[in-house]
Symmetry: C2
Subunit: 220 residues, 2 copies
Amino acid sequence: MSSPSTPARGRPPRLDRARTVQTALDLLDRSGLDALTMRRLAEAMGVQAGALYRHFATKQDLLTAMAERMMDGVTEAAAQTRGGDWTERLAALAHALRAALLARRDGARVFAGTHATGASVLGFADAVMGVLREAGFPAEDAARALYTLTNFTVGHTLEEQAALPWGDADPAGPAALADAVADGTYPHLEAGLPALTSADFTRLFEFGVGLLLEGLRARR
Amino acid sequence: MSSPSTPARGRPPRLDRARTVQTALDLLDRSGLDALTMRRLAEAMGVQAGALYRHFATKQDLLTAMAERMMDGVTEAAAQTRGGDWTERLAALAHALRAALLARRDGARVFAGTHATGASVLGFADAVMGVLREAGFPAEDAARALYTLTNFTVGHTLEEQAALPWGDADPAGPAALADAVADGTYPHLEAGLPALTSADFTRLFEFGVGLLLEGLRARR
DNA sequence: ACCTGAACACCGTTCAAGT
DNA sequence: ACCTGAACACCGTTCAAGT
């Protein structure tokens, strides 16, 4: 048989899925999602843009492969918490998911914009379901809890990565909020302004995960 | 004085912010976010693309105005629950936010991609903060609860609107999940498959909001 | 088999010039 | 004051032709 692993007969290919995804992720980190174009990626690989379509049917296909690669190791990263109880293990899984998204510039946007169903994504979902079912939750509640935890984590990290480039002339930063609130129209926002503009996203994430876990505990 | 409301001296303008945002939202509903281009919007308004830049500095600016318009009336929609206790009022606000996003095609994507801080958005945030502080939460926890509720709702609705066009040849639908799980590698996913592929997003959203509210109740 | 070159049908944005 | 016309610097994607 002449599989792809056969010693090259002609020229060795300059392109393959793995190397291309890796280069795309590096480019993402350097320039962000908006600057990640097929043409720039091709240039980074020393090739013409059209050549990329030998390995990826569309740009969306490439982004999905990037999302799947980003998830490699999420479950393993959370597996250290084997000793803990089920709430600690769920918290560790949620933190591992956030960390995987944060590890790449615009990681949450890439993940939210694709429907990755690779082994890492399924492995993560299976791990969450396993903890929940071991804790005694019926399959229906376990499934809903999985989606809730995932959707919250993605929603939070999307906000977190969108908020990080503040401080520039971005009209949505803390200063703009303070201005908009200053006229007394929003008394409750005014009272909470310091807390609302605090950028401690890790504590905020822990707060949200904590609420979800306490809710689950109450429901068991 | 010669304000914008002065009877027109020359030709009446064919463009203004309000009409443009309205047309953009209609176009969004008909064609989706990916098909919403400045050129197509200009065509729908009987004008050249460049003319739009008299009212919006960038496309991002237009999208922000669209997000703010989408939020008009969210707080009012939830205000009917005046009689209920604080958990019911928070639930009503969360449901009103989801409803506002669902009301437009790709509404969650538009909202998540902008930093809208218009009166409607601030009014919504102020209402949530008001309920929480009346319930006795300190400003810090109230602020965190506001973000948690908002981020979960946006994350959920993003998923919900991305999942709706399933059934086509989308490789991420329920059928694909069933295939991927069929080989026994993911026992917990397999056990939860019916629940995982159920598309009852309203119940799923209620479950998530319920968890958050129970968590808040436990923390009070 | 793998990639080039060139095209097709678009984009967002800018700006002198018209009315 | 408001809009046109035309350009600039790009896009994603396709595909005959080369090697």
